[in-house]
């Protein structure tokens, strides 16, 4: 056991330990709690940066603990996992900042931040899981850690949403576990490896493999909000804004999407997927989800619900990208994992700001917000533009790669899907932007003066500004070595060069 093999553990612990400590803090220990929170974040970021440069240089970070016969508990930092780890750590930082501002003066903050840290630990652990069994483990932990956040408000609606969330995610988790058990019974749970490890079984067990695939995708599809399994997501909107931001941008939905990436590339592998003819259904499903989500988003009058349905649609871009099995499409899917995270979190931050500062929840109440809260509105606009896939934003890059990947992999109709979805995105985002900027100020439900110098509390303002800047930077500077795009290319290079 050297430092390298412990690094993944430390990364998980860097949010877990502060989280557990925060649970035990009294409500009024604001300073200590904030210190713990931010300290954890910074330590994590440092560790992740360390690992980032190591992985780039080709180092291996591998931690193993005996757990079940045939499958240890493995944490393994590879390029793909680092993509998700980086995303969640960076967004954890901004969300923590946001949440501190958002929850100022409200009760049960220790509990909130405790679960919040647990949630991040579960996400990071999930990203770092080295085999299917560890993945399942963190997947379930994530469900448990997010539930208290969903019902944090404790109102009747939030409890209803929480019940629904649990009903979906627990069922999904169980189905996932069934699938994992099936695979485990065939081969054990070896380490995720590019190209998958199931090809020796292809001749004998193709039926079982297909069954396993269906089970795994169903289980993961719940969190990834694939079409018939998306129902929890719009309901979960009753949660506080930082939570919906985290749920929808980073933790939960991405966990599902990330799992699909893992299953497709590192468990089944491209060859097996092709020989079992499993890609078509997945592509169809993802496409249907993309269109359906956008269509439903159009009909929502509530801002957060509209964003939620937008998430349903956008997360399936990731699935779509990996399902097409082409390297370019994979780059698109992987980079969208990050891009969508940053864009959607921006939108939710802004929605939270509008709700918190002006009491706005419905879209029709947004009239003229642009002049009262210009920075938030700009951030929102940038996020929405990114969602539509307009150039100079991150969304454009992922859309471009997805679409050219679709052509590359021989799915020209996917291009139509992407275009239709973009059109629908524009149809549901542009009216919102129009209201914000172009209409005269209306009657805001509950305007508050949260700050003397800024449009709202600075802690609420800073995170969306940061992420909005990130959106533009990730779009404009996509060619740099630091960009998610380059990293996705690195991942794809490693995933596709296994033989």
């Amino acid at each position: 056991m050297d430092w390298n093999s412990w690094l993944p553990v430390f990364i998980v612990l860097s949010s877990l330990l502060p989280g557990l400590l925060i649970f035990s803090l009294a409500e009024h220990r604001f300073a200590l709690r904030t210190t713990l929170n931010l300290g954890g974040v910074l330590v994590k970021l440092l560790l992740v940066a360390w690992m980032w440069q190591g992985v780039k240089a080709g180092e291996d970070y591998y931690f193993e603990l005996p757990f079940l016969p045939g499958g240890s508990f493995i944490l393994h930092g590879d390029a793909l996992s680092l993509q998700f780890v980086l995303l969640s750590s960076v967004l954890w930082l901004v969300t923590t900042l946001y949440a501190i501002g958002y929850l100022e003066g409200s009760p049960l903050r220790s509990r909130f931040f405790g679960y919040f840290s647990l949630c991040v630990s579960a996400t990071v652990g999930l990203a770092l899981s080295g085999n299917l069994i560890s993945f399942v483990l963190f997947y379930e932990l994530l469900t448990l850690a997010t539930f208290p956040l969903v019902v944090h408000r404790g109102t009747v609606e939030s409890l209803r949403a929480g019940r629904r969330y649990l009903a979906y995610t627990i069922s999904g988790g169980v189905v996932l576990m069934l699938g994992a058990a099936l695979l485990h019974s065939l081969t054990g749970s070896p380490v995720f490896m590019p190209g998958g490890y199931l090809s020796p079984l292809l001749a004998e067990h193709s039926g079982l493999l297909m069954l396993a695939f269906v089970l795994l995708i169903t289980g993961l599809g719940v969190k990834a909000a694939l079409l018939p399994l998306h129902g929890w997501l719009p309901e979960a909107m009753v949660a506080p804004a930082p939570v919906s931001a985290l749920l929808h941008a980073v933790a939960v939905v991405k966990a599902g999407a990330f799992g699909i990436v893992r299953v497709v590339y590192d468990v089944f592998g491209v060859d097996v997927m092709q020989q079992l003819d499993l890609t078509w259904p997945l592509v169809m499903l993802a496409s249907a989800t993309i269109l359906y989500g956008s269509w439903r988003a159009l009909q929502q009058q509530d801002l957060k619900r509209r964003l939620a349905y937008s998430t349903v649609s956008q997360v399936s871009y990731v699935t779509l990208g990996v399902a097409m099995l082409g390297p370019v499409a994979a780059v698109g899917g992987l980079v969208h994992l990050v891009h969508q995270g940053v864009m959607k979190i921006t939108l939710f931050f802004c929605a939270g700001n509008f709700a918190e500062t002006l009491g706005i929840h419905k879209i029709r109440e947004l009239n003229g917000v642009g002049r009262r809260m210009p920075l938030s509105s700009i951030a929102f606009t940038l996020g929405a533009c990114g969602m539509i896939g307009l150039p100079a934003t991150a969304g454009m890059i992922s859309k471009w790669y997805l679409a050219s990947g679709a052509l590359d992999a021989g799915y020209p109709l996917v291009l139509l899907v992407l275009l239709t979805s973009s059109a629908l995105n524009a149809m549901y985002f542009l009216p919102v932007i129009y209201r914000i900027w172009c209409l005269p100020a209306g009657d805001w439900p509950a305007p508050k003066q949260l700050s003397r110098r800024f449009e709202t509390h600075w802690m609420l303002l800073l995170p969306p500004v940061i992420t909005a800047v990130l959106i533009v930077l990730m779009g404009l500077l996509a060619g740099t070595d630091l960009s998610p795009l380059s990293w996705s290319k690195l991942i794809v290079e490693r995933e596709f060069s296994y033989d």
């Binding site: 079940l68 649990l166 169980v174």
Partner: protein, 472 residues
């Protein structure tokens, strides 16, 4: 073996002493549980290091004397008994003044521990009967600690327990009458040498044990009795007492039933196990009372034990034995935690309906956390002990496609258990009722309730060695 013997005798002595010296009963028994925990650990260490041992009580030859067997399985169960008892004793010690727990609890629980330990060690049909009686009576007496309100439930428990004992005794008598052996391994040899129609004996024994272990459909007494008892008692009953007969069922069926009868029997266990999972889960979901819910959860969870037993008999795969006993361990820990936490919350929040728990995550976060964590193991979420058990159950199942119908059953059982656990948890997150400012429940009992829940999650990481011990 010496350690195991001491682990049986220590609680017995403590019980007798506690009856004499009532003022110090609590401390005596508490200390004895702690020491017996150490002894059980030592016994386990001994088995792992030196291999299994057996002892003829009184040193007489086989057939004449009662035989004790100490192997990994019995050592683990011994350890489980000691562990749960020490946890429950610590909990009771920390709050028995508030809970109004009678001083009689101490000798009774010590006797229970002694009887159960003896049961796990013994491989003698008649000695099992005696320990079973002892177990049943101790359990009834413990239920009665709740006073008048538990009377009806306890009486029913007593009556059915006696009926079950009689059934068992009848079966044993039939076997003994024909073969002349009470010692199980010897009896197994005799049966395999000269098989006769011993179906009725086996069925009588099975029915009696099923009634004792509250296996569906003979579980009817359990919810009332477990719900009526004081919290520490419910924990003991659910975690340990029903496991004794289950262990006996396992021993008897795995050793005495021939391969043909085993397959027939396996159908019984598979069917009743499936029904237990579904019906028990549904009842737990529908009941408005918290402890009844937890009690029904025991009924449902025992379904997994039945399934594992049935599968073991059906497919003769050692993995199912592992599943069965890991399940037993995990369920014991999880149920202890659940009952202690629920009992503590009932005590502090006042009320036995589920609605009492509204807002409990705010008022008693630790206890609620314990329920949720233990519930995670009951559901089988990784990486808990319940998960490992379920995993061991599922894995070989995939290889045997003729039993595919068990998968949806297990799925349904899991979902139902998730539903009732989270029904409680969701209620606890309701913030409709503000907390009284002076409300500050004691923390120690809550921590003690949480401890087994944490242990059961750690169990998963010890599962490697557990599996290897149980695999033999």
């Amino acid at each position: 073996m010496n350690f195991a013997l001491a682990a049986v005798l220590l609680p017995l002595l403590a019980a007798v002493l506690a009856l004499c010296w009532r003022r110090q009963a609590a401390r005596l028994v508490w200390l004895s549980t702690l020491f017996s925990l150490l002894l059980a650990l030592a016994a386990l260490w001994q088995v792992v290091t030196f291999g299994p041992a057996s002892m003829q009580l009184g040193g007489w030859q086989t057939g004449l004397a009662i035989r004790w067997q100490l192997n990994e399985l019995s050592a683990l169960l011994l350890l489980m008994t000691a562990l749960i008892h020490s946890l429950v004793a610590s909990y009771s010690l920390s709050q028995w003044r508030d809970a109004g727990l009678s001083a009689d609890f101490w000798p009774l629980s010590a006797l229970l521990q002694s009887a159960l330990s003896s049961l796990f060690l013994s491989v003698d049909l008649f000695n099992w009967y005696v320990t079973l009686e002892l177990l049943g009576l101790a359990a009834v007496a413990l239920v009665l600690l709740s006073g008048k309100k538990a009377l009806q439930a306890a009486m029913r428990y007593l009556l059915l327990s006696l009926a079950a004992s009689l059934c068992y005794l009848l079966g044993v008598a039939l076997l003994y009458g024909h073969y002349g052996w009470l010692d199980v391994p010897q009896l197994a040899v005799a049966i395999s040498e000269e098989p006769v129609d011993h179906r009725l004996a086996l069925w009588l024994i099975t029915a009696g044990l099923m009634l004792k272990a509250a296996l569906w459909p003979l579980h009817v007494w359990l919810p009332a009795a477990h719900a009526a008892a004081p919290a520490p008692v419910s924990a003991l009953l659910s975690a340990l007492v029903v496991k004794g007969p289950l262990f006996m069922l396992y021993m008897i069926w795995s050793q005495l039933a021939g391969p043909e009868l085993a397959v027939t029997g396996s159908w019984l266990f598979l069917l009743t196990g499936s029904m237990a999972l579904v019906v028990g889960g549904w009842s737990a979901l529908r009941t408005p009372y918290a402890k009844v819910m937890v009690a029904y959860s025991t009924v449902a969870q025992l379904g997994y034990g039945l399934l594992a037993l049935g599968l073991m008999l059906h497919l003769t795969d050692p993995a199912f034995t592992q599943a069965l006993f890991i399940f037993v361990l995990a369920h014991a820990l999880a149920k202890t935690s659940t009952f202690l936490a629920v009992g503590e919350m009932q005590l502090r929040l006042g009320g036995k309906r589920l609605s009492t728990f509204r807002g409990a995550s705010q008022t008693m976060p630790l206890a609620m956390f314990a329920v949720a964590v233990a519930g995670g193991s009951l559901i089988g979420l990784p990486p808990s002990g319940g998960f490992v058990a379920k995993w061991q159950l599922l894995l070989p199942l995939w290889q045997h496609s003729q039993l595919w119908w068990l998968l949806p059953v297990i799925l349904a059982g899991t979902l139902l258990s998730a539903a009732y656990i989270f029904r409680l948890v969701v209620l606890a997150f309701n913030r409709a009722k503000p907390v009284r400012p002076d409300f500050a429940p004691a923390l120690l009992p809550q921590w003690l309730a949480l401890l087994p829940a944490l242990l059961v999650w750690m169990l998963a990481f010890a599962s490697g060695s557990l599996l290897s011990w149980l695999g033999g």
